[in-house]
Amino acid sequence: MDDRIALDELVFIRKVIEDSKRSVVENGIGYIFWGILVFVGLMSEYLGIVFQLPTKSVWTWVVLIGFGWSYTIIANIKKHRKKPVRTFAGQILISVWISAGIAMTILGFVATTSGMIRGSAVSPLISIVLGVAYFVSGIVYDSKWVKLLSAGWWISGIGMFYIHSVHQILVMAFMMMFLQVIPGFVFYFNSKKEVRQSHD
């Protein structure tokens, strides 16, 4: 191996490492999108119960979650076409959020329709699932504040286990706003800054 080839190899390896680092900069859109979607669902369920509206909450959720999954699948296909090379960290993040999505879908639809889990247990269980997802994501991003969000989800999950009234839905809606949508915006602005910096 001569000097030039060795240097080319090093430049290539460095580029791969830098690309890998850049691609794990989260743009936060997924967090914002899902957070708002679930917030809308929770608020419509809460208002439906409080004002005794004749809406079927199951169908609201089927439409919202169905829309969420369709959007996520299409967005990921598009992203994959644009950038077919996936980094290890990127793959792990996809697996974290897909598995969390499947876990939450089973809890929300299968567990409740089977009658084995009461509606009031769904929000705390979903909070605990989100705690796992945020903890692992925090390690992947190497970000302490993302890891701390998991503590927020777990503590709110524990609290919601003891709230047996309709107001639990409202608590979950606010958690969704504070621990998902707002962090999503933080990711979004950070990624904008990162893109601007890499263009300079």
Partner: protein
Amino acid sequence: MNEKIAMDELQFIKKIIEDSKASIVYNGKDYIVWGSLVTLGLLLDYSAYVFKLNINFILFWSVIIGLGWIFSFFSYKKRKIECTPKTFAGKILGGVWLATGTAMTIVGFIGIPSGAVPGQSVSAVLSIFLGMAFMIAGFIHNETWMKYLSLGWWIGAVYMFYFPGIHTIFVMALMLLCFQVIPGTYFYQKYKKEVKKNHE
């Protein structure tokens, strides 16, 4: 930069990659110990129901889960003393199981006593969390069969939700054996082979 420095750099990078690969050769002991402990707990739980034994279930499971956590703690300490290099993949894997363990402990020790999660659906709920962990771990180990194990956990959870009863304790014990202890043994054998190869 002359040829020697470039070669040194390349060798250093190669070594890091190889170290990273070697330390992700997982010994599977956690899978075997946790899987066996919980299987044993479930079988004793089942016997207590059948023979109508007067057992304090909270205390009983506290001992089982406590033993598991003590094992995990000491095995973490041992790895630290042995100065096993901490790779990115290893860190994520540790995080996945720490988060899943925390989540399952919350469900078992807070969800059930709070009355939100009925005792008979706890196996199904925990299967959902295990499915999540196995899917992420499958991506980390880059083992397709492991990703399929998560499907096994989720299908098992759906089955237990729709067909509840005392037999679900057996189903859960069987799933632990097939989807956790056996894969753990596979990892252990693979690890032994790898260690032997390194010594040769």
